[in-house]
């Protein structure tokens, strides 16, 4: 039996998924504007990703932040490395770096700004289930 099963489950999830987003709510129903904005950037690139909702248990967030040395949610990991939170992901989306990091083509008509996030509780922008 593990001393800290939540911490181990988080580490495993980060290792097992090439792209994984820890967020508040789900991609279909983000519960925070920052998470929604990050989901919108990922969805705009059409790259598949796994998503973990940190809200059901406060220990998920606590252990995640302890692993990543990053205090806020969302957190995007690509190939086991923390890429950043909403600010960095949005900046990278706008510069094209995010597409490069994810190994996808940038959208043909990339908007100048990152896609506008749905407000918490608002209908999802792209109701496709990408939970991994």
């Amino acid at each position: 039996m593990s001393e800290n099963p939540i911490r181990e489950a988080i580490s495993e999830a980060i290792t097992d998924h090439e792209v994984i987003l820890f967020m508040k709510g789900t991609p279909e129903r983000p519960m925070c504007g920052f998470s929604a904005r990050t989901v919108a950037a990922l969805d705009a690139l059409g790259s598949p990703y796994a998503a973990v909702d940190v809200l059901p248990d406060p220990r998920i967030r606590q252990e995640l932040s302890s692993i990543s040395n990053w205090p806020t949610i969302p957190q995007l990991f690509v190939r086991g490395e923390l890429v950043g939170g909403c600010d960095i992901v949005s900046e990278m989306y706008e510069s094209g770096e995010l597409a490069q990091t994810l190994g996808v083509e940038p959208p043909d008509e990339a908007p100048d700004e990152a896609p506008v996030a749905a407000e918490p509780g608002a209908p999802p922008l792209m109701p496709e289930n990408r939970l991994g």
Binding site: N69, W70, P71, T72, V83, G84, C86, D87, I88
Partner: protein, 75 residues
């Protein structure tokens, strides 16, 4: 409850020679955005730059400071 002036002062004190601009995004005193320009950011990744600013506030991030959106550059 921290205000924009306090956040600005604490960032500039913790990062010598830096300039910080802090906005209260909602007017509620808990969602802030800080733009920080600091010499010491040169050679650091964005992740490291943001960690450096978050470290100024420690556990206050996620507590009294519900959200601190960051834009950092070395210049």
């Amino acid at each position: 409850m921290p205000g924009t002036d306090e956040l600005k002062r604490r960032i500039e004190e913790a990062l010598p020679g830096s300039r910080a601009e802090v906005q209260d995004l909602t007017g509620g005193g808990d969602h802030f955005k800080a733009t920080v320009v600091a010499q010491e950011f040169a050679g650091m990744t964005r992740i490291e730059q943001h960690r450096r600013v978050y470290a100024v506030f420690g556990s206050e991030i996620g507590g009294p400071i519900h959200a601190l959106s960051l834009e950092t550059r070395a210049e």
